[in-house]
Symmetry: C2
Subunit: 409 residues, 2 copies
């Protein structure tokens, strides 16, 4: 596997050694940075820590206590002897980003560094604008940095399955071949995003695709499903390496939220009819998928799209699984239907392809009973840290207004 | 036709009276504002005049001398007795935009107010970022203003045919019905934009479509072709009402540029092979189309897409037409092939539908010999104002860099 020191002479993309993880202090980014470091990649984390600021401002906290990024990296070094470089700053600041590129000289950039909550993007006008500006301009800057400073560098960009919406036909991986009026072409798969956050990802995908064509950028767009779980081999090594686990109505995602709700005896919050079906994956598969993408880079000029999830579930199916697991562990679980704060189909066809990462070698960790048991036990362990006021959804897609929403204690 | 003074009691969209023209100091916007005012709509122009700043900064100027917006509006009033309200400011400033909405109370907003040059968006990183930020955030603000202050207001948004790129299948108006693996759905037509400017329009379209669904916004996206010509009934009334006419390599568009080139004896600048085919329309049809869209508003929640052009031409066809017209008027016209500064297909299939505006009553002004003669004569009249140094393209899609490009005298 890759070793350090030789990056001045490393040229082609065939042996990527130096990986910049943008958003490396976040949920997916932290697990990925450690995983890659453990696999002997040279890793640098780039993060503005703005996500920690959002939590402070909204009065939210991770279920799990998380250390500062500085302590996390020091602990990793003392445990493994491996160094992770740290660059604190905002990628929307191009001067800062240039500095990180010229100092670290990445062979691959994994870009997790965006405002990634759909509800956050629907709180008020200024947060909607922030989300699109932060995500779109940040990604544009990364593209310009690659073009200018590291043209062989492979961009691995996190998108979301939510970009596709819920079309009434099968969802393909990025492209679809259409025969129309007797002619045929393979075109970008139509997108139907349903929040300002999801839209920002569609904008990113379109911008990246253009730069692949115009500048020969090599890029992989990972349309990720909903991630669940928290433990990975590396974060388990020490409590100071523990990953964040969001359960609140703004940043928490479906299955993780249900586990916490079950652990504290809160009814599972199914939005509307609960027929919303999406792709899901274990965080251990997130890190695996990203590693596979890096180890098998896109060609110059190629805009490659992978759907990154392992299984589909409806919200009702997840609620039933968590209920069963709860009962097995001896606590009863109820489910309530909450008026849907989003605008989305609650019953719909859903069949999304996800074979490309499997073809590259992904070995999925499927959602088994035992996994669900251990995830539930994990949340029970931290249940005294739960602020139950944060569980119900507080952001409405329809009621978003133009006045800044202030948050009371 | 609409009359003033009654807007407090006017409710439904069936009789739109008050039209806000964002970007009303520009090429399409000025012609449209006058046309609508002439048709007895109450018109307000909202414009930051930033386009005049771009011209100053890049050392460019309109072929035609244009008056200040203040003098234009005063002259219109003195000629016709009609008042056009004026709001000078940037729609990215939401406080300003709110003020215009609450003061003017539009029934329809025609949104021309964007950075609209593909080459401008490809000059350097900061102009690429400016373009996407200006266009995307400006449009988001307009959507929020409608939702908050005028929820019945109809948004008529200028998009571009360039959003579609050059797929190998027929281009439909906004949506395409796809049958795939035995199932069928009608989905947004796939977009393949090829500059940061064109991409910004795709981002806008996606954002608008979402707000129609989530908030019930009524919107018409006019995917406009390349506009040519300069005279409209209203701008002809007085020289102080004269519209701008761009011929330079940054803001000038295909046919208009060729006419100026022919007028000054410059060879027609065909980029690459010249097989690039696009939709075109006369500026008199731009104003007609916008009026038709306003008079027939979209329903609440409807995201309606019209392809706004009347004829397709390849660059080579246009060059041949201008050559013929020049010869008829007694001056020889040459054509040269210039290395293509863009990244685009130079030979491709192109067949774009454009029936929806015809169905609403559009009566096209097709590009006849006599029209071309008069356009050519028009440019000859102003030929002493031409700065021939501005004719060749100066912006390369592939060479765009991160350093601010400074412009020398
Ligand atoms: N968590 C999921 O279930 C999920 C699902 C699909 C896709 N994704 C995508 O994966 C990526 C990571 O998600 P996550 O759950 O780890 O989010 P997260 O909020 O935990 O982490 C994102 C990190 O990016 C940083 N960041 C944001 N904007 C930045 C900027 N301008 N400059 C520098 N750093 C910035 C934040 O500080 C944060 O540490 C996101 O792009 C997200 O859209 C996540
Ligand atoms: N001219 C064409 O051939 C053509 C073709 C297709 C589409 N369009 C679209 O039609 C619209 C008008 O084009 P045009 O040729 O008249 O352009 P133009 O540059 O002549 O006019 C645009 C006007 O918008 C104003 N503006 C820009 N950003 C603004 C902001 N943030 N706030 C307030 N005002 C702002 C500018 O000052 C300018 O007066 C554009 O959206 C363009 O994309 C034009």
């Amino acid at each position: 596997q890759p070793s350090s020191g030789s990056h001045q002479t490393s040229t082609g993309p065939s042996e990527p050694k130096r990986v910049m993880v943008i958003g490396g202090d976040g949920y997916c980014g932290w697990a990925t940075a450690l995983h890659l470091s453990n696999k002997n990649y040279e890793v640098a984390i780039v993060d503005s820590l703005v996500r920690r600021l959002f939590d402070h401002q909204l009065g939210l906290d991770s279920l799990t206590p998380i250390s500062s990024i500085h302590n996390r990296i020091r602990r990793w070094k003392s445990l493994t002897g491996k160094t992770i470089q740290l660059f604190i700053g905002d990628i929307c600041d191009f001067e800062f980003l240039s500095e990180t590129f010229n100092s670290f000289e990445p062979d691959a950039v994994v870009h997790f560094g965006e405002q990634r909550s759909a509800p956050y993007s629907m709180i008020d006008r200024s947060r909607a604008v922030f989300t699109q500006n932060n995500n779109v301009i940040g990604t544009l800057n990364v593209l310009f940095a690659i073009k200018e400073f590291r043209e062989e560098c492979h961009l691995v960009k996190l998108g979301t399955m939510g970009e596709y919406g819920t079309p009434n036909i099968d969802i393909e991986e990025g492209y679809i071949t259409i025969t129309h009026n007797g002619r045929t072409d393979t075109l970008p798969y139509p997108k139907q995003a349903s929040s300002f956050y999801h839209l920002s990802k569609v904008h990113d995908s379109n911008n990246i695709a253009f730069t692949c064509k115009a500048w020969g950028i090599r890029a992989t767009d990972l349309n990720q499903g909903v991630v669940y779980g928290v433990r990975t081999d590396e974060t388990e090594m020490h409590e100071e390496l523990c990953n964040r686990f969001d359960y609140d109505g703004v940043f928490g995602t479906a299955l993780n939220r249900f586990c916490v709700q079950a652990a504290v005896g809160h009814a599972l919050t199914v939005y509307g009819k609960g027929g919303q079906t999406r792709g899901y994956l274990d965080i251990r598969d997130t890190v695996q998928c990203v590693e596979l993408a890096i180890a098998n880079p896109a060609q110059r000029g190629e805009f490659r799209v992978f759907n990154q999830f392992t299984e589909q579930f409806s919200v009702n199916e997840l609620a039933a699984l968590v209920t069963k697991a709860g009962e097995k562990l001896g606590f009863p679980v109820e489910t309530i239907s909450v008026p849907n704060p989003r605008v989305e189909a609650e019953e719909h066809y859903y069949n999304a392809k996800h074979t490309k990462l499997i073809e590259l070698g992904l070995q999925p960790h499927l959602l088994s009973d035992s996994l669900l048991d251990s995830l539930l036990n994990f949340t029970v362990k931290y249940k005294d840290r739960v602020d139950t006021k944060q569980i119900m959804p507080s952001v409405s897609w329809r009621k978003i207004g133009v006045k800044p929403k202030t948050i009371a204690a």
